[in-house]
């Protein structure tokens, strides 16, 4: 009997400690209504089921949506990546086809198929101004994101036509959802890797870049030696040749 009681206490302590210490998940407190799910299902059948299957089970052309969660739908459809514009190596973001309400309905339907990452709560998608947190966002961005997205979020090339998009104009919510779901070839940065607060710091750093002019003068696209080198060669060498011609010709 005593053993059972001790084990029970131990279980409660361990479980309680885990739930207290485990990384928190930032999930929207609003739950979708059954009407939203039904409306979302209709939208899904009309717009997505051609490729993703009638039950979202996936086909040869497109992956399954079971378990991808509402965050994935909100990101992919909300940024206009889905429905896919054309068969290409990477879905470009373009003008959105659906209102936010319709996107939320589809997200609610896909989330009802199986649990998955939820749309982040608003408290984590707001921009923070605290310099310490913006600076932390910069450090995290340099460690985890800058190699593909460029240190000031200007984007960059990957292999075989794929690319990491520029992030200067990206809504903080989509920055958050991209880290959570890992769209296309982007890896997942789950809450155990980068906590919700840290994701918020990263989005705030990106907004800080957008709101503040570049300290280094003319940015030339912030893509480093390509544009800077082109400018130096074209402008610099033109000036040098012009000077040489001017110095060596006779005055009229």
């Amino acid at each position: 009997m005593a053993t059972v009681v001790i084990m029970l206490i131990a279980l409660v302590v361990v479980g309680g400690a885990y739930s207290a210490l485990a990384p928190s998940r930032a999930e929207a407190s609003t739950t979708a209504s059954p009407e939203d799910v039904t409306a979302g299902r209709d939208l899904f059948l009309a717009n997505c089921s051609n490729c993703h299957g009638l039950q979202g089970q996936g086909t040869e052309d497109a992956p399954t949506l079971i378990g991808v969660g509402a965050a994935s739908v909100d990101f992919q459809v909300g940024t206009g990546r889905m429905p896919l514009q054309a068969n290409s190596v990477q879905a470009p973001d373009r003008t959105e086809d659906f209102s936010q309400e319709e996107v939320s309905q589809m997200a609610a339907y896909v989330a009802s198929l199986a649990p998955g990452p939820a749309i982040p709560a608003e408290e984590y998608t707001e921009i923070v101004e605290d310099p310490e947190r913006v600076s932390k966002g910069n450090e995290l961005f340099r460690t985890n994101c800058a190699m593909c997205h460029n240190v000031v979020g200007a984007g960059g090339a990957l292999t075989r036509g794929k690319y990491a998009p520029q992030l200067r104009e990206t809504d903080p919510k989509y920055v958050y959802e991209a880290m959570l779901t890992g769209p296309s070839n982007m890896p997942v940065f789950n809450d155990a890797n980068i906590s919700p607060e840290e994701k918020q710091d990263i989005a705030s750093y990106l907004r800080h870049l957008k709101d503040n002019e570049s300290p280094g003068g003319v940015e030339l696209g912030s893509i480093g030696p390509v544009t800077e080198g082109a400018f130096a060669w074209i402008a610099g060498i033109t000036i040098l040749i012009g000077s040489a011609v001017w110095l060596t010709t006779r005055s009229s």
Binding site: E139, M147, C148, G156, G182, P187, V188, N190, N193, S251
Partner: protein, 338 residues
């Protein structure tokens, strides 16, 4: 024009005989500039030069004024404003003087043609004899031929002189020793998140995620940056079926979680562009591409060796730990690596 050269090797149309020698065409006729012939043009050019010099003075004034008017307040925009105006002012001041002088020389200074004939490099016989006599005098007056003690001691001193220089080359070291072959990883060192050193549980490394990893205790080590440059690791979880079997690396992963050195084997850039779907790791410097599913084999680019794998395991608290150092030195080739 050298007299002994005649134009026999110059191609000429059939039936036309070349002359024995071409006449020196001489300098083309002098062409006068408008400023030479028209006094009003000369006056105008003079004014232009003066205006350009005045621009230079303006540039100097701009520099002086902005030096006091735009103090550095510690903000980026104040630094930018200051450097822009100082640079523009000083640049204009220097450039305008140069442009003005060149314009002056082109339009107003005399431009008549002058010919300076070349002379032989070899001096005249008189000069040569005189120079030889001076050397001979010096040789005799110094007595270096007679006073063998001085001569020999000078030779000895001169012979020893290079040795200190050669010895000081030793200060280019110390040689790296085995510093390049060892990192902070050893059995039981936890894999922690860069930069906060938070330990990682195996269950947190979900499918498709990437963790940028440093060894625990790196920030407290003597040279954190140097250690990081050797020990940085990328942690990736792959679908078990995707990975090519390699029997000698059995047990180096934890349920499909693989740890690979983040330092490119080409020239040591951080290989961190990970494509989740293709399992390709791309180096941003020279586009070396490693296939994680094939144990980071090089599939493209200038790198010659795969990224070294760090053998990992789980400690009793459920955190990921290394079981040893990298089996081979991480990073680019070096002299002693062989």
């Amino acid at each position: 024009m050298r007299d002994e050269h005649v134009g026999t090797d110059v191609a000429a149309p059939e039936g036309q005989n070349l002359p024995d020698r071409f006449a020196n065409p001489g300098v083309p006729a002098h062409r006068f500039r408008t400023t030479d012939t028209d006094t009003r043009a000369a006056k105008r050019a003079e004014r232009q030069v003066a205006v350009i010099f005045a621009l230079s003075a303006l540039g100097s004034l701009l520099f002086i004024i902005s030096y006091f008017a735009f103090p550095l307040e510690g903000t980026f925009s104040s630094i930018q404003r200051s450097t822009w105006t100082l640079g523009l002012g000083l640049g204009l001041a220097i450039l305008a003087i140069g442009v003005g002088v060149v314009h002056w020389a082109r339009t107003l200074m005399p431009d008549h043609e002058q010919i300076e004939q070349r002379h032989d490099i070899r001096g005249t016989e008189e000069d040569r004899t005189e120079a030889a006599a001076i050397l001979q005098d010096g040789f005799e007056e110094s007595g270096i031929g007679r006073r063998s003690l001085i001569r020999n001691s000078l030779i000895g001193a001169g012979a020893l002189l290079p040795i200190p220089a050669v010895l000081s080359l030793g200060d280019l070291g110390p040689r790296p020793g085995d510093a390049l072959t060892h990192t902070l990883w050893r059995n039981g060192v936890r894999l922690t998140r860069d930069p906060d050193e938070l330990p990682i549980r195996a269950q947190d490394v979900t499918m498709g995620s990437v963790f940028h990893v440093i060894p625990e205790g790196l920030n407290e080590s003597e040279h954190p940056l140097e250690e990081k440059a050797k020990a940085a690791v990328l942690l990736i979880r792959l679908e078990p079926g995707d990975v090519e079997d390699l029997p000698e690396r059995e047990g180096w992963d934890v349920d499909g979680i693989y740890a690979y050195s983040k330092i490119c084997t080409h020239v040591g850039c951080p290989v961190a562009l990970y494509e989740q779907r293709t399992h390709h790791l791309l180096c941003p410097c020279h586009q070396s591409t490693f296939d994680v599913a094939q144990h980071c084999r090089v599939v493209f680019g200038p790198a010659k060796r795969p990224l070294p794998q760090l053998p990992i395991s789980v400690d009793e608290e459920g955190y990921l730990v290394a079981t040893s150092d990298f089996p081979e030195p991480p990073g680019p080739s070096f002299w002693e690596r062989g």
